[in-house]
Amino acid sequence: MVVCDNIFYHMTIDLKTVKHISKLARISLEEKKAEKLATDMNSIFEFIEKLNELNTDNVEPLTSIAETTLRFRDDKITSENIREKILKNSPEKNDDFFVVPKVVE
């Protein structure tokens, strides 16, 4: 095994970490499901650790496969009045806005 910069020894993902991640991901988890997820995530990360065999010190990260620069367009409005279309699939709305649970007391 080659030792390199980003060496990251496999660390067990514990229940506490899973719960923290689920908060970040905004997914509520039952205790039982969290335990199962911890097991699954550990087996997946064990598999992912293989990347640490490689020395990538002098490798540029590949961020986009399409080697093009982003295109500019004229700063003009191209869509018609689409408020209705945008609101159409909203689970809760009034005439003009999306409606969410009260945020400010």
Binding site: I27, S28, P91
Partner: protein, 485 residues
């Protein structure tokens, strides 16, 4: 004449143009067959009545100059279709009815295609067996209780069961080629940037690509010609000169150099896959190609790289499902609680798993160790292919490390499920075109596929090699319509 539903796309177009079959007759045949094929569970949403109506309208005012004149076509339920429900196989989009059309499907309708309906798939295209769909398993028409592959499992099953003349899928890590291989059909993933991603429910944006699935290679060339286009609405769409893939299709591949990468001979690969590959090499030689041994040294790092990059991008893309703008909303005591309950009830287990992995690898303190590392290895994988293409015109490999497996066989072990994509994932990471063609059967008579990988934007060579080998292989699916009995 054989039954309408068993015709290839090319034959169906020919018959319609010669007025031997009307568009409405074709539509009726596919609708009738679908009604007798509910057990396959290929459809999430049927558009049958509308299809019959539109086919009649086509017959009243036919335009035979179109590339798909009045052809009924079912598509994967990952493409947004105007005023037709689009679910991505997820509960969270159960009631989503798009107010716009994806570019790829619009291209099909512009050439005379008519929507038959929306086909089942793994939830948000995350899966290799169609078992993660909220709308249930899909049966592989090859044999009962066999998975059709995934994520485009409804598409491959519908095609093999003759429920649609051709179809389109999407491929992020093998989701077109693996189900094609499992069902004895043809599936092509084009070069990244060839087909617009506009209006496709996003999974991993640097990898996602739409492509044709068909009964033979010629049909894929016809459909690719229709769906591939430069599109301003997709910032990674590439403006390159597209071939007339179907008219430029040729079996003359004499002198082409085809590479055989030794790293694809993986541990534990069944003998029958090895044999299939050797047979494929012989067929390629028979076609006049020159076989050259090559090395793609970072192949074994592709899957671990993919399972960082794809979940990371997925966790970002799926952040939009918040119960506010569209889709499912669960009630909660405050805004955060509403988000968490909505996403918990709306997403299935595999999607949650991947969102969690993605969130973890992007979270503070882990980004460099995982995501940045994976992007660097992705560079090495791409470089392997760049170097190989200095020596060869295309690469030949098996499509999958095994044939189709039984429903339930791998659903409890995510890593063993992920291994299905071992030969297809590197192609997505490098953004290359790849096709799977049926090439033989295993000991159970289940189909096995071979994959041809090409240079960027060189779909024509990929298609030509496939077209040429297809003739030598002469594979025929033997499907008994068991689900109708």
């Amino acid at each position: 004449m054989s039954e309408i539903t068993s015709l290839t796309l090319y034959e169906l177009i020919k018959n319609i143009k010669e007025k031997k079959i009307s568009s409405n007759e074709a539509a009726k045949s596919f609708v009738d067959r679908a009604d007798k094929s509910k057990k396959i569970n290929a459809y999430v949403t049927e558009n049958f009545e509308n299809c019959l109506k539109l086919s009649k309208e086509f017959d009243d005012k036919p335009n035979f100059d179109l590339k798909l004149p009045g052809i009924p076509i079912a598509v994967k339920d990952l493409f947004c279709t105007y005023e037709v429900r689009t679910t991505a196989g997820s509960n969270i989009l159960n009631n989503f009815v798009p107010t716009y059309e994806s570019t790829v499907t619009q291209n099909i309708w512009n050439e005379g295609g008519i929507l038959l309906g929306k086909l089942n798939c793994d939830e948000f295209a995350m899966g290799s067996s169609n078992e993660t769909s909220f709308f249930g398993n899909v049966q592989n028409p090859i044999a009962k209780d066999l998975v059709p592959g995934g994520s485009s499992g409804g598409s491959s099953a519908a095609l093999a069961a003759n429920l649609t003349p051709v179809t389109i899928g999407t491929d992020t890590g093998g989701s077109i080629r693996q189900p094609a291989s499992f069902t004895g059909t043809v599936g092509l993933k084009p070069t990244y940037g060839s087909c617009s991603r506009y209006g496709i429910v996003a999974f991993a944006s640097s990898l996602d690509q739409a492509g044709p699935m068909s009964k033979d290679v010629k049909d894929s060339s016809i459909l690719l010609e229709v769906i591939s286009s430069f599109d301003k609405k997709d910032s990674t769409s590439i403006d390159f000169k597209r071939n007339n893939y179907s008219s430029e299709l040729t079996r003359n591949i004499k002198g082409l150099k085809i590479g055989i990468p030794k790293e694809y001979r993986v541990d534990g690969m069944p003998d029958e896959i090895e044999k299939l590959w050797k047979k494929g090499i012989e067929y390629a030689k028979d076609c006049g190609a020159e076989i050259i041994d090559i090395s793609l040294p970072h192949t074994s790092y592709a899957l671990p790289t993919y399972y960082i990059v794809a979940p990371a991008e997925a966790s970002s893309n799926l952040a939009r499902y918040d119960g506010v703008k569209y889709g499912l909303r669960s009630s909660g005591k405050n805004l955060i609680d509403m988000y968490e309950k909505t996403r918990s009830e709306g997403f299935g287990e595999e999607v949650k798993r991947r969102v969690m992995i993605g969130t973890y690898v992007l979270s503070s303190g882990y980004y460099d160790a995982y995501y940045l590392k994976a992007q660097k290895v992705r560079q090495l994988i791409k470089r392997d292919f760049d170097q190989a293409y200095n020596k060869v015109d295309a690469i030949l490999t098996p499509s999958t490390p095994s044939s189709a497996f039984k429903i339930g066989e791998k659903s409890n072990d995510p890593v063993s499920m992920y291994l299905n994509d071992i030969f297809t994932v590197p192609v997505n990471l490098a953004g290359l075109p790849g096709i799977s063609i049926p090439a033989g059967v295993d000991k159970n008579n289940y189909p096995l596929g071979l994959q041809i990988i090409g240079k960027p934007f060189d779909e024509q060579t990929v298609l030509n090699i496939a077209y040429s080998m297809e003739e030598k292989i002469n594979y025929k699916n033997n499907i008994t319509d068991w689900w109708m009995k």
